[in-house]
Structure formats: structure tokens, C-alpha cells
Amino acid sequence: MKIGSIIILLLMNMIFLSGCWSNRELPDLALVSALGIDKAENGQYVGTIQVINPGNVAGGEGTQATGSESTPITTYTASGGNLTEVNRHVSSQVSRRPYYAHTNLLVIGEKLAREEGIAKIFDALERDPEFRTTTKAVIATNNTKAEDIISTLTTIDKIPSNKVIKTLESTEQILGQHMNVDTRDVLSKMATPDQAPIITCFSMEGDENQGKSLENIQATVPEARLQASGIAVLKDGKMIDTITEDVSKGTMWVLNKIKATAVSIDWKGETDAIVYQVTRQKTDVTADMKNTNKPKISVEVSAEGRIGEAAVPVDLSNPLLLVEFEEALGEKIKENIMSSIHKAQELKADYLGFGGAVHRADPNAWESIKGEWEDSYFPEVEVDVTVDAFVRRTGLRNEPLLSNMEN
């Protein structure tokens, strides 16, 4: 009985003596919302962390006092030979412990991506228990450093990382030229030869020093703006080129990522006279492996949408005319897709995922060719593109206003 109670006492001590292990109060944490990594001239990494000042972001009680006087974020920069070192060095500037579990944006400098590749830093990020693989990744291009993207203040979305992510999401859905990629996608694509990774590029327009001050977000036209600017193509973990406009849109078509976009065609000599708004689409990429050494890829796109603009007098109530439109639209989309395929073959980077199609069609054959797929097979591969565009409706009116005016 006595021994029993002593044992229980000792067990209780075990609980209470160990104390609040790994206990972190909220005011002791620096919430890192974005992480930027550049490469310095001397070959060292330069890491920039964007730390949220919660009091300046959240509305409600206690925030009115400090209010909009100070910035919603603060950035800290440190350098080191590897990411862990960078993180340790940053702590000499931050009063709190950097907390990466809520980091939702990773910005990689173009110099780093082109020269060294992203494989090394991604290992550190994937290994870290706090850092999430759902973090969105972008590459800073057009002479913009990752640090600039991280430290530019933005309007509407007070936290710049949120602004970047939301821009990515909306432009992917509306424009269809950029892609919302998280680090997990990049990692999984880097790990297989089926598909090469692509990462959307971001750049800052304007004065980088202006972007760091509050005045930037007090103007209707901010001096420094962040915007998406094409897609970076990676090969063997290194960035080799960027694709923009029609080429990147064609890529989105092939990757089945188009949610909504606009396609314009010329009509009766008028340039871009008819605008077609895609509402839904489906792309199937299949490989024909009858001849193992010469795989044939077929891309089948079926799109559905409505007429968004008609700048020439046409009778949209005529179904035969719509059929003509559909043919022209198909051609236009096919053109886009072909341009993107040609670009990919030229770069010898299979970001279109044709390797994956071959893999699915004939896994055994893929085993033997996957080593030289990107360099030998992919550039030569024959691609058959068929586009079936369908005009579901013509918008709220039939005949364009123009046809009335001309009569």
C-alpha cells in the first residue's frame, strides 16, 4: 500500500516535473508568411522572411491604437551557406522565434533557379517538420529579386504573400496563362521523369524602394506592383526558360488546367472580332505505343463556352454560322497548343506530361526509354491535336448591335 502510493507520487512527479515541454505562447512566435531565397554574388544563399505584425493586420479590439500607422509585415534578411544557417542567422534580428508552419509562399530568385537549381533548397524545405508542402512556389523574374517580392507592400490583401497566392489562383482561373503550383507538385514532378515541373513567375513593376514603404499602399496606383509574368520551365531542377502568352496558354490547355479563358478569332477581315469565353473544357492526352521507338501522342480537347463579344455584324441565331465559328475556334486553340508543343520540344523539357501518357500506355516500354525520353524521344515525338470547340450559347443577345446600326 505504501509502496503503491510512493510509485503513484513518483509518476505524478514525472508529469509535473517535465513541465510545459515544447510550449510556445502566441506572442513568442514570429509568424512567417513568406520565405524568399536568392543567391548572392558570393554564392551564398540570401533568405528573406516576411513576418506578420498581427496587430496591424487583424481588425477589432486593440488594433485601433496602433492602427494603419505601421506596416502589416516586416521582413528580415540573412545569408548563409545553407538554409538552416540562414534561419539561424535571421534569429539575430528577430525578437521572436520564426514559425514556418503558416508560411504559404515560397519565392525563389531567378539567379538561384537558373544557376544552381532548386533541388538543394527543396530538400531542406521538405525535411523541415514545420514547413508545409502545400506552400505555393513562385520564381521571381524580370530582374526582380525574391527579396523584392517578399518586401513589397500590397493593397487590398494586406499581407503580400496572400496577395501573390490569391493572384495566382484568380489568374489561373480567369486568364489561364499561369499555374498555381505548390511545392509538393514541384517535388513530385522533380522526382519522376514523367513530367518536368513548371513554376509561375512573379515580378515587381516599379520602384523597389517605394514598395517597401507604407506610401505604396496609400496610393491608388501603387508605385511598386507585383504581378504574374509567365511560367518558368525547369529541366533537371534548373530553370531554363520562361514561356508567356499563347505558349503558356497552350500549355494550360494540354495540362487540362484551363478553367475559363477567352479565345478570339478573326472574322471577315476584322482582327480578333469574335471572342469565345470558355466555360468548361476537358483535355485527354493519350499515347499510341504501336511502334515502341516512335510513340505517337494524341491530344484531344473538347471545350464548351459562349460568345463573349462580336465586333462584326453577324447573325448569331444562325446555327450554321456557329458551326463555322466552332471550326475556326478549334483551329485557333490548336494553334496555341501546337506552339506550346513546339516550344517544349525545342527546350527538350517535357512539362506537358507526354512522358506520363507514354508511361500509362505502355509501362514496360517506358522503363526502357525513360532515361533518354526528354532528350531523344520527346523532341521528335509526333503529336496529333484535335480540338472540338462547342458554342453553347451566344450570350444575352443574338444579333450584335453593329448589325442594327449598319442597316
Binding site: I15, F16, S18, G19, C20, W21, S22, N23, R24, E25, L26, P27, L29, L31, S33, I52, P54, G55, V57, A58, G60, E61, G62, T63, Y99, A101, H102, N104, E130, I159
Partner: protein
């Protein structure tokens, strides 16, 4: 049955054996001696009334009637005792003196119950129960006549167990009224009542009620045995008995249910449970009680089964909220910030910027404040109740936040916990959850969610180890008993379950006939 009833090796007699009392002192032959003795023993208590009178206008045949003022019905004494005794002419014809009492009992007293008494103990017992004692000179015996009465509360709606649908009657302080309320609901000869007097000083009447043939004999016997074991000076409320007959004392959970509602008692009796009535309290005990019983309200049985089921699920949720809400908040904000959505975390962090205390101190502080407020509100006289609500809104609310003592999110957490702990239908389980909540908070502050889960497991093991009169506390979920499971978190419609719960009923387990599900006539027969 997958479990065994404990402590049941004794023979089953189903009755309460009389306690071996000391030998009773007999009354004296002489009336003045008896009256002197009475006055001596009661210390001349002023509420004891002795009315001397002569029988049959004969100065020699003196008599006295004795009663306690306030607990008797004055009108019955005046009209049916004194009046009859004084005016009756038959008594002088009695030859033998001993026959006087018999004559009085048979012919004179026109009251319901008349008993003969021989000794002082019996006399006092009847006297203080509200009976009137008749003593006649020359006879060493007395008569006790039923004149119980006096002021008592009328039947009102039970204030602690309000139901939206169902009878509005509640128990009162009068034992007889209470048993009658149940008797009126179950008109059957199998409804048996056993009586026992407990408390050396208070001599409180305690009665157990059960349905013979439904209640397990072993349980009834166990209840009788445990009641007989009680040797205490006073029983002022059923809470005394509840504590003295529990299976497990080292727990915060109630293993005996109490109720103020006769319909609830009736329902429980029909499920084979035993009710314990205690005089002078409206709270009736019901045993055995299982955990899920405390989440059942009488409304559940009167409203549609689907509604009742969803409300019970809500109650389980409410119980969990009142147990875990502050603990989860503390754990999430001090250990697991990664599981809070980013936007919410920023808001919380902004609020916590200015907060002077760690989250757990803040939580305990606010919970304590609330408990103080609640305690004050319960005991506060109505006249100052408004003051409390105004001041209460200050300490748990905007003012506490503006003073910079607590963060606004904590106020929300405390408020939801408070509402949740009041929404649990049974007060005894709600208060138990309230106590455990503080333990949970400390566990959360030391180990985060790991601590919460650990404490929860300990709690579950503890709950599973409890028994109420031999019945496992978590039954019929653990051990799972299919025939009782139709009335747990889910209540099947009345036509859905044919059997009474096996937990408390072993024989006569069929409750209703086959095919009780209502079927509309098919269209062919509608013609």
C-alpha cells in the same frame, strides 16, 4: 448478460428486516403519570398540545388527547375526535375498562386509521408523524389516530426539470403525495412500496418503490440491504442517502439519478429501476443509473424519435464542449499553432499581443470568474440579482477585454462553455464536467493535445470502471447490450423496440406486441 452483478451472495428476501431495537418502555396505568412522563420527556415543548377531557360526563373516566400543533389537521381533531369523544353516550355502558379503547376505535373515532400503542417509543413515533394520541385513565395503552395534516406546498411545476411537453406536476415535500403521484400513473398491483425509517434523530420516512416482476430481485435486495446498512443521526435530504449508497465514492460522476418529475420516475420504474422516496424532499432517487441516462430528458420520450435523437446528439456535443472547449483553445494556441487556420491565427495572435498572462492562466482565470459568478447568481436574493448580472457582464465581457486582462477570444470560449454547461439536462453531470474541465485545462497546458487525449482516455477508463448497483455505468454502450441500445444516443420510435432494456429487466422483457408500427390502410380498403 455479459456482466455480473456484484455482492449478491446473500439470500433474496426482498423485504426490509426490522432493526433489533431496545425493549420498549410500557405506558403507565395512570393518566396523570403518563402525562407527567410525556412532559418530562419532551421538555414541556410548547408545540405539544394536551387536551384533557372526561368521557361520558363521568368525572372519573378521564382521558387526554395529545397532538403536535402544526403537523396535524385541526379540523379532523375538532370534528371527529374531540366532538365525538365528548358527546358519545355509549361509552358508559362499557363494563371492562380495557374495552374502552376498543369501543373508541370501533365506534367513536371517525377517522381513517386507528392503531393501538403500548409503549413510549411507538407513542412518540406516531405523535411526531402527525397522529393524535388518545390516552384513557386506568389503561396502560393508547390509541393513535390518523390526523396528519398541516401546511404543505401544493403540486407545482418542477423548477429544475422543465419540459416543453409533458405533465407539469412535480414532486413536493410530502412523501405520501409523491408516492401517490407515481401510483396514479401506474395503476397496477405490481407496483410495490416498502417503507423504512432512517436517521436516529430525524426518524425520516424513506420508501422504495419498484414494479415487482420488472425490477431485478437482486437489485431490489441490494437497495434494501444498502438502506439497512445506513446508521446515521439524520437524513434531511435524499442527497444524504445518495452518498451513503453509492457504489464508488471516488468519482465526480453521479451513479444515482435524482428527479423531481413523477413521469420520469414512472418511466424508470417501467424500465425495471427502483425509486427511493425520502420524506420532506421533492427529489426522488432512481437506481441503478447509467451514464447515458443523464442525457435523457422526459421530452425525448414525448416528442418524435428523430427529433429526440438529434437533440440527444446535440447534448453529447454540448457535454463535450463543456468538457473540452477551454482545453482545446489552450492546447491549440500554446502547442499546435499549425492547426489553426492562418487568418484565425493572425487574429488570435493580434489579440494575444497585449494579453499579460499565458493562455492557460487566462483560461483558468476566466473560468474561475465564471464559476464565481454562477455561484453568486444561484444564492443571490432576487432583489440583488440584477446587480449581479450587470457586474457579471463587466467581468466576463468587453470590460475585461478593454482592461487588457484577457483576450476577446477567451471571452467567447468561456461564454460558449458556460452556455454548454447549462444546456446539459442533468445538473449533476454538468457540474461533474465543470470540475473535470479544470483538470483538462491543466493537462492541455502541460502536454497540449497529447495531454487532452491522455486525460480523455483516463476519463473513459474511469467511466467504464464505474458501476451503479452492479450495472456497468457505460452500459449499454460498453459492454454493448443490443436490447438496451435502442434508447441511448439514438432513441428508436416506440414501435421500433419490442423489448425492455435487458440491463435492468431480466424477466418479462417484452414490452409490447408485434407490428406496432402504424400502417395507413392501403388504398383499396379506403373505398
Amino acid at each position: 448478460m455479459k456482466f455480473k452483478l456484484r455482492k449478491l451472495s446473500r439470500p433474496i428476501t426482498k423485504s426490509i428486516p426490522k432493526k433489533p431495537g431496545k425493549k420498549e418502555e410500557p405506558l403507565d396505568h395512570s393518566l396523570p403519570n403518563n402525562l407527567d412522563e410525556l412532559m418530562k420527556r419532551t421538555g414541556n415543548s410548547s408545540d405539544i398540545v394536551v387536551r384533557k377531557l372526561t368521557l361520558n360526563n363521568d368525572a372519573k373516566s378521564r382521558a387526554a388527547i395529545i397532538f403536535v400543533e402544526g403537523i396535524v389537521d385541526n379540523r379532523s381533531i375538532d370534528d371527529f375526535l374531540i366532538h365525538s369523544l365528548i358527546n358519545d353516550d355509549d361509552l358508559h355502558r362499557v363494563e371492562a375498562e380495557d374495552e374502552v379503547l376498543e369501543k373508541i376505535a370501533a365506534k367513536v373515532v371517525s377517522l381513517g386509521d386507528v392503531k393501538r400503542i403500548n409503549g413510549w417509543d411507538k407513542l412518540f413515533q406516531s405523535l411526531f408523524a402527525g397522529d393524535t394520541i388518545i390516552l384513557v385513565d386506568g389503561i396502560a395503552q393508547g390509541l393513535s389516530t390518523y390526523t396528519k395534516g398541516g401546511e404543505s406546498r401544493s403540486i407545482e411545476e418542477p423548477p429544475t426539470e422543465i419540459s416543453l411537453r409533458g405533465p407539469r406536476e412535480g414532486f413536493t415535500e410530502s412523501l405520501r403525495t409523491n408516492t401517490a403521484l407515481v401510483r396514479r400513473r401506474i395503476k397496477n398491483q405490481d407496483l410495490w412500496v416498502k417503507s423504512i425509517t432512517l436517521g436516529e434523530m430525524t426518524n425520516t420516512n424513506v420508501e422504495i418503490m419498484y414494479i415487482d416482476g420488472l425490477a431485478r430481485d437482486k437489485v431490489v435486495q441490494e437497495v434494501c440491504d444498502r438502506l439497512n446498512r445506513i446508521n446515521i443521526d439524520s437524513i434531511l435530504e435524499s442527497g444524504y442517502i445518495e452518498e451513503l449508497i453509492e457504489d464508488q465514492t471516488a468519482t465526480t460522476f453521479p451513479t444515482v439519478q435524482h428527479t423531481e418529475r413523477p413521469d420520469s420516475v414512472a418511466g424508470n420504474l417501467l424500465e425495471g429501476r427502483v425509486a427511493i422516496f425520502v420524506d420532506r424532499t421533492p427529489f426522488v432517487l432512481i437506481v441503478p443509473a447509467v451514464f447515458i441516462q443523464f442525457f435523457q430528458s422526459v421530452d425525448d420520450y414525448y416528442s418524435r424519435a428523430d427529433i429526440a435523437t438529434s437533440i440527444r446528439m446535440l447534448r453529447i456535443l454540448i457535454f463535450l464542449i463543456s468538457l473540452f472547449a477551454p482545453a482545446v483553445y489552450v492546447a491549440a494556441t500554446t502547442f499546435h499553432q499549425e492547426m489553426i487556420p492562418t487568418q484565425l491565427l493572425i487574429v488570435l495572435a493580434a489579440q494575444r499581443e497585449a494579453a499579460p498572462f499565458p493562455a492557460v492562466i487566462e483560461a483558468i482565470l476566466m473560468e474561475l470568474t465564471f464559476e464565481i459568478l454562477r455561484e453568486a447568481g444561484v444564492r443571490m436574493p432576487k432583489a440583488v440579482g440584477q446587480t449581479i448580472s450587470i457586474v457579471g457582464a463587466l467581468v466576463i465581457g468587453q470590460a475585461a477585454v478593454q482592461a487588457g486582462i484577457v483576450s476577446p477570444a477567451m471571452v467567447i470560449i468561456v461564454a460558449i462553455t458556460a452556455i454548454a454547461s447549462f444546456a446539459t439536462p442533468s445538473y449533476s453531470i454538468a457540474i461533474s464536467a465543470r470540475l473535470i474541465r479544470f483538470g483538462m485545462m491543466i493537462a492541455a497546458a502541460t502536454f497540449g493535445f497529447y495531454g487532452i487525449i491522455l486525460s480523455f482516455i483516463i476519463l473513459l477508463v474511469h467511466l467504464c470502471s464505474l458501476r451503479s448497483f452492479g450495472v456497468p455505468y457505460m452500459a449499454p454502450m460498453a459492454p454493448f447490450i443490443a436490447s438496451g441500445a435502442d434508447d441511448t444516443i439514438v432513441r428508436l420510435p416506440w414501435w421500433g423496440g419490442k423489448e425492455r432494456p435487458r440491463l435492468t429487466v431480466d424477466k418479462n422483457s417484452i414490452r409490447q406486441g408485434d407490428n406496432q408500427k402504424p400502417k395507413p390502410p392501403s388504398s383499396r380498403t379506403m373505398k
